[in-house]
């Protein structure tokens, strides 16, 4: 669609030459209203097409960081997505470009049929019926769940729910896929299957995980977060 125009515009605004980074975070600080400081100054640049694992102990601020990437939470400092600052007037575009798959698929699948859930994003984007139907079919095929559109998500296995949750975001054709603990609670077979599916997707990926196999197989780069700070950043090894 207007992607090329959009990125050209964004590139013009970025200070450096070449395509803008998929994600640029500068001095991000966030505290919850009760004063608990969760992020203590995060600086992170992720290039287009990169796959980055974010690991760290419980309570390190991983999930909080993730909620900043599409403007659900807003701390001080700056977050830019493809050169587009994450601020109220850009939220619509930011949320289309950054697809977040949450940890518990039960939270992501809230409608009465799989197809409705996968169509939710595209229909919020104001697409027409045929376009939506095509995207739903495409997203379901991408996660190997063709033909289950009419099923109710309540009847799916946990592994299938996880894959449908990915499809609900893929149908929006995001440029960045953000995954919170994609393999938690999955049996080895479903986990293998999900990793294979994810590694086949040609988008920038940010994966919050405790699963070292995921970090190793899916991401060339790993960022370690501890107590609201990035304490290590380098190749996954």
């Amino acid at each position: 669609m207007d992607d090329s125009a959009e990125s050209a515009k964004a590139a013009g605004r970025a200070p450096t030459q070449g395509p803008p980074p998929a994600l640029e975070i500068r001095g991000l600080v966030f505290a919850y209203p009760d004063g608990t400081r969760v992020l203590e100054g995060i600086d992170l640049v992720i290039r287009q097409g990169e796959s980055v694992a974010v690991i760290g102990p419980n309570g390190a601020g991983k999930s909080t960081l993730l909620l900043h990437l599409n403007g659900i939470l807003r701390g001080s400092g700056s977050v830019t997505v493809f050169g587009l600052p994450v601020e109220p007037k850009n939220l619509r575009e930011v949320r289309r470009r950054v697809g977040v798959v949450f940890q518990d698929p039960e939270d992501q699948l809230f409608l009465t049929s799989v197809a409705q859930d996968v169509a939710f994003g595209p229909s919020n984007m104001g697409l027409d019926r045929d376009d939506i139907a095509e995207r739903v079919a495409g997203a379901l095929a991408a996660v190997g769940m063709e033909g289950s559109g009419e099923r109710s998500s309540h009847h799916l296995s946990f592994g299938q729910k996880k894959r449908i949750a990915v499809a609900t975001v893929l149908s929006m054709r995001p440029d960045v896929l953000v995954l919170d603990e994609p393999t938690s609670n999955l049996d080895p077979k479903s986990r293998r299957r999900l990793i294979d599916i994810l590694s086949g997707l040609p988008v920038t990926k940010i994966v919050v995980t405790h699963d070292m196999t995921v970090a190793y197989e899916l991401c060339e780069r790993t960022v370690i977060l501890d107590q609201g700070r990035i304490v290590a950043d380098g190749l996954t090894e």
Binding site: R95, F102, D107, F120, S123, N124, S152, S153
Partner: protein, 255 residues
């Protein structure tokens, strides 16, 4: 798993395949007509029952299935209705029970409530057995039911089961630590359990909302419509409502 799908997925009859809107309009309209019929016209209720039996037959629903489903509601109706004659004392006494008198007018009220409730419940059972929940929700939405209502019902259906499963897990966890529900002594524990279920549902609600907003939710949901209101649908609504209306008009003439 607690949940059994409302409609059996395997069966597919012309009635099952109808657009949900046709079934909602046809059957709810049918109930409205039935309810407005004067109870003296007993023959009219027989004809209504025939219409409903015809629809159920088309949908290949066995009388046993219908009766089983209706049993969920009918006992309550009977329990309430059975006392009605004692409160309607006008008319000629038919018999007396101890000191209480039962009159013909009173019996007519009983018949009125029972016949209408039974037909109403059976109509909704037919609707429920031939339409999946998701079809029902989209059907109501496309009939311009206020969205808030449609969504509330849809979310209740989706998360009600999760809520039940959560409370079962909690009960199991308590039972594993030798909790025995005794009368009164355990009221505080049950209270805390309810409180914690409330908090869990509350934070679930918050997470669902975040997941919605992340996908561009801005306050309105467009459920994807499928299926069309074609000739078959028009024929269904027309024949069900047409027949019922004809019977209803005839009762007015005969009165």
């Amino acid at each position: 798993m607690i949940h059994a799908e409302i409609a059996g997925g395997a069966v597919s009859t012309p009635v099952h395949r109808l657009d949900a809107r046709a079934k909602i309009l046809g059957l709810i309209g049918f109930v409205v007509i039935v309810v407005t019929t004067p109870p003296e016209a007993v023959w009219a209720f027989v004809l209504y029952a025939v219409v409903l039996a015809f629809v159920a037959g088309l949908a290949r629903l066995s009388p046993v299935t219908l009766a089983k489903r209706a049993l969920v509601v009918v006992p309550f109706v009977i329990m309430v209705a059975v006392f009605l004659p004692f409160f309607h004392q006008d008319g000629d006494p038919v018999f007396s029970l101890g000191g209480a008198r039962v009159t013909d007018q009173g019996l007519l009220v009983l018949w009125n409530v029972l016949a209408k409730a039974l037909l109403g419940v059976l109509s909704m059972v037919v609707l429920g057995l031939t339409t999946t929940f998701s079809e029902l929700v989209t059907g109501f939405e496309r009939l311009h039911t206020p969205k808030v209502l449609v969504l509330t019902v849809s979310f209740m259906h989706r998360y009600g089961y999760l809520f039940l499963e959560e409370s079962r897990r909690m009960q199991r966890a308590m039972a594993s630590r030798d909790f025995r529900a005794r009368w009164l002594g355990n009221v505080p524990t049950l209270g805390r359990m309810l409180g914690s279920l409330f908090l869990r549902s509350y934070s679930r609600g918050e997470r669902v909302y975040v997941a919605m907003v992340s996908r561009g939710y801005e306050g309105s949901i467009r459920l994807e419509p499928d299926g069309a209101f074609g000739w078959t649908e028009a024929l269904f609504v027309g024949s069900v409502l047409g027949t019922a209306l004809a019977v209803r008009v005839a009762t007015a003439w005969s009165a």
